[in-house]
Amino acid sequence: MKVLIIQLARLGDNYQVWPVVKSFKRNNPDVELHYLCRSSFRGAITGLDEVDRLWELSSADHVDHVLNCSDEKLTDKMERQIQDLKTEKYDQVVNLTFSPLSSYLTEAISNEDTKVLGYTRHEDGYLDIPDDASALFFGQLGVGKFNRIHITRLFSAVMGVDLLEEDWQVPGSILAKGALRFPNLPENYLAIHIGGSTNNKLLSAKQWSAILDSVHKHNKDLSFVLLGSQKERDLASAITIQNPERLLNLAGDTEVDDLFHIIKHSRLLIAPDSSLVHISSLLNKQCINLSFASVNFWETGPLAQNSYVLWNKSPLHFDTDSAMSAINSILSNEPVQVRHAKVKENSSLEAYELIGYDDRDFEWNLIKAIYLGHEFPILDDLDVYQAFKQLAELTDMAIRDLEMVRSGQFQNMNLEIISNVEKLVETLEKLVPQVRPIIWWFNTEKIRVGPWSDQKVFDRNFDIYTQLRTLLAIYVGTSFTHSQIVEQK
């Protein structure tokens, strides 16, 4: 059996796939496993011994070709890449990227017999979301949404594997490389990642200096190893503490593999939302993640034991005093007195427990109820109840129309009414955030309707409305129409 995993996102996403790949190979030792990533991030896969063949997509080369070739040869280069992959005749293609680009590529390289998981395309070009885990991703994941399932866990759900502790491992060969290149690290140090993929994840030199100086005052024997890319050299040089001998600036001097050794031998890692957080998870090295609203830390935060997330809206709103207090408490094994999230001791659906926050988790509990069959959360907000009631009334209207089409009273599906209902649902989504998980589920299920026969499309749409009404019945009860539907079924 030959399987291709596609991960065309960033460096950190590739690291987050590691445990899933290890688990998949552990469960399927005879599978020939191929992996496709961007050329720029191939370094993140070199340590994955489970991968039998690594394929690369060079965005730079493809874009260069598109910009510089004649119109007749526009698709030549991509065609060659597609053919190379298609010739492999994969039994299974698992797209863990969740992007439009990857969905087109997945469809192009799949054969008729290929089992596809993750985003692909229907024969008419519409997005095809074949599995429920990817549908959860489409509907509920991302910044500004309410999901709390970690992305590594979701990747494992797409691939249909369970994760064990042993799946978080780093090969000795990678650690040895770093050990050879950096044999003289300080005895007792914190690894500090000052970089990040975007500016909205970066603290200033002043903020870092304040934090590190405070930590230094409380921990005189600690050193600090600054990590970052070449472009962060200036930022690193501007960071100062009272005793500069305790500061080792390696920004721009390390290769990706070196980071494993440096982080492994540190006391802990302090990092913004970056790929180093995921390296710490693979090493099970304690991490303090300085997270911002530009990501959803529930999905991409650290997973190593005793790791913490200190959340702020943005670097501009960063509460340096609270961060200093938290880091000093963590280093002295004392309870953290400021608001934070901490990795739970036992593996569970939510990787973190929130401490000091007024946790409004109605929407998250709603997601668990819709997708995982958990109990529906108690509703104690009249406005939300009214929104659910309106949503139920709209759903009843749509179902009534669909029933009339089914019984032959309308010749065709009354698209105008259905379309008006959907516009009103959209308005409710904007006005009442608490109902969004249900609406996002509904919208996703409608997108999942394929290019089937008219009857099948009709039946599936009818089912989706009926399922929506069943979900809403939990809060607003059933309507006459709905009872009829249940009886009919």
């Binding site: 960033r10 961007r38 874009v63 598109v66 910009l67 680009l101 969905s103």
Partner: protein, 62 residues
């Protein structure tokens, strides 16, 4: 890859051309292998313009 390696103007012009081309193919022949490749390239260019927002995706409901 950073979008700065290519001029934004160049990328936008190419994207417009690809969009026109894919529309033409879709209208005349439907979603073919050629349309798939053009749409793929279209997405590749779009990624450069929005700095690889990898979690972005859209689709119309039927």
């Amino acid at each position: 890859m950073s979008k700065n390696q290519f001029s934004e103007q160049e990328l936008r012009e190419k994207l417009a051309k690809l969009e026109k081309l894919s529309k033409k193919i879709l209208e005349s022949n439907g979603y073919t292998k050629e349309a798939n490749k053009i749409l793929l390239l279209q997405e590749l260019i779009k990624e450069q313009l929005r700095n690889e927002s990898t979690h972005y995706t859209t689709s119309k409901a039927r």
